[in-house]
Amino acid sequence: MSQAPSDAGGPHLEHPDDEAPAVETPPAEPSERPRDPRWWGSVTLPVGGVARWRAGPSTVFAQRRASDWRVWHETEPDAYAADAERAQRVDDEPPDTAPSARFSFAETPDTITVSPSLADRPVIVRPESALSIPPGERVTLYASAPVWMALQLQVRRPKRGSKGPSPVVVTELPSFRPTDTWFGPSTREGELCYAVRTAARTEVADLPLRPHRAVTPVTVENQAATPMEVTRIEAPMPFLALHVDRNGRLWTDGVLVIRGADDDTTVKVTPGAPAGGERLAGPRDTRSFGQTIGKTFSRLLRGESR
C-alpha cells in the first residue's frame, strides 16, 4: 500500500534558496569533480543485505529479509544538507531503531528501486522578496520544491491479464517535509497544499544544484496595463512530469501563466525540461490539466495587485 506523502516525515523549516548551501561545493575528492547528484536507482540484495540511499537531508535504508522488506527513514535537522548518494549496497547494519515500515511477502523480491517523485499536492511557492512584473513583460522564474523518494518492489499480481511480477510503489518518503498551507478564497473552501519559500531566481546559472529538489520553470506574461505583483505561485505538482538533465538536476514540466489585458489569468503546462534531458516520471494526475484549470488553477496568482 502506498503511503501518502503528506503523512510522512518530520518537522523542518523551509529556508529560502539563498540561505542554503549549494550542492556544487566540491567535496574533497581526488577527482575534484562534483559528486553525481543522481541518488535514485535499483539495488539487488541477498537475504539479509542492506542498501542505502541519501538525498539531501534524508537517508533511506532498506533491508531484505526472508519474509519482509524493512525500511528506515532518517531525516537530518538541517533541511538543506546537500548530500546525495547513489543507491548502493552497504555492509553496515541497519539502524538500531524500529523500522519505519515493513512489507511482507511469501518470498521477498530481490530488487528494490528508489526513484524521485513529485509532491501529491500543489506547492505554493512564495518569493522571499516581493516581485513585480511591469506591463508587457514576460519573465521566467525558477522555483524549487522537494521531491519524494518512491520505493518500488516487484509484486506478484495474481490478476487476470498480468504477466509475471510488476513493480509497485510500496511507500513514498519525503526527502524534506514542507509545511502545510491552505490555498483558497476563504477558510471554508480551498485545498491543502505544501508551502515553500524561494528566491525565485530568474537565471538558470544562478540555480544551486540540489539533488533532492526539482525546479519548476514558471513563465509569467503580463499583458495587462498595470504591474503584476507576484506574491505566491501555485505549482500544480500532481499535473507535472519529472525530468533530469545532463547535470543530474531535477526539473518539472514548465508552467506558463498569462495575465490577459482584461485581468483574467490563463495557466498552461508546457511539457519538458528547459534543457531537455530524460523524463523520469509522468504526472500523478493523468487527467487533462485543462479539465481542472477552472477549478484549481485559475487563481494561480491570486494576491496580485494587492
Binding site: 516525515g9 518530520g10 518537522p11 523542518h12 523549516l13 523551509e14 505554493i124 512564495r126 517535509r177 514542507p178 509545511t179 502545510d180 498551507t181 491552505w182 490555498f183 477558510t187 471554508r188 473552501e189 480551498g190 491543502l192 508551502a195
Partner: protein
Amino acid sequence: MIDDPGLETFAFLSALADPALWWAVVRAALYLVVGVVLSRMVRFGLKRTLTHLESGQRMLLARIAAYTVLGLFVISAMRQFGFDFTVLLGAAGIVSLAVGFASQTSASNLISGLFLVLERAVQPGDIVTVGGRTGEVISIDLLSTKLRTFDNLLVRIPNETMVKSEIVALNRFPIRRFDLNVGVAYDSDLGLVQKTLLDVAARNPLCLDEPAPLLISQGFGDSSIDYMMAVWAKSEQWLTLRNTITREVKEAFDAAGIEIPFPQRTLQPGLTPLAVQLVAPSGDASAAPTGGDGTEAAPGAGAPGSGGADMGASGNPGATGARPS
C-alpha cells in the same frame, strides 16, 4: 333488524352474489395496486432527481411524497365500499386534540427532527458539542439524535433539545485554529520571544503557512507578559498540532533561555519591614543554618531595624528554617 340467523346468512350470501360488490372490490384492488406502484415510482423518482439535497433530506421528502400518494389511493379504494370520510374528518379534530395532548413530546421531537434534517445543522459524521458533550453524530432519527462520545458512550439527545441547544460543529470546516496562551517573564527579550514563537510555527509541518500564524499580545499580566499564539491546521490534524506545538514552544523557550514564570506575589509589609529570624530545626543543633561565610547565624539577625530581613523580594514560601518573627 333480522333476528333469524338463517335469514341473516341468506342476506349475506345475497350480498356476495351482488355483482356491484365484486365490481367495487375490483376497483378498490385496482386503486391499491396503482397506489402502491405510483408511490414507489414517486419515491424512487424523487430520490434520483433531488440529487442536490443531502441523503437524509432526500429520503425524508421521498417518503413523505410516497406516503401521501399511497394515502390518497387508500382513501379512494375505501370509498368504493361506501366509506364516508366526512364523519372521520369531523372526528379528526377531536382525535387530533387528544393525540396532540398525549403525544406532545413525541410530536415536538418529530417536528424538531424534520427541522434538523432540513436545516442541515448537523449531519452524521460531524463532531459536535451539545450541552457540554462532545461526540460524533451517528444518526438523526425520528425522535432523537445519537452521539458517540470519544470515550465510546452512546448519548441519545431528543431532537427538541438539539433544536433548542447551541450546537458547536468542530469539523464542519476543513481547517481549524488553535490558540495557545503563553506568558513570559518580565525580563524576557520580547523580540526574541516573538521570533521564537513564529519559528516554532514555521518549523511544525502541520501548522499551516497560510492563514499565517498570529501572535497577539494580551498585555501585562500579574506575573508575566502574556501572548496568544493562533495557529491553523487541517481539522483532522488539529489535535496533533495542539499537542506538538505546545511541546515545541516549551522546548524552544528552554533553548532560548526564555522563562515561563510561575504566578508570583510580592508582599509589602508597609512602613516597617517584616523581621525574619533563622532558627535551627528542633533536636538537630548541628544543622543550624549558617551565614554565607560559614558562621552560625546570629539570633538577632533580621531583627527590626537590622535591615537584613526585608520580605519585599518574592521569596520561596517553602524555604526551610525561615520564619517571620
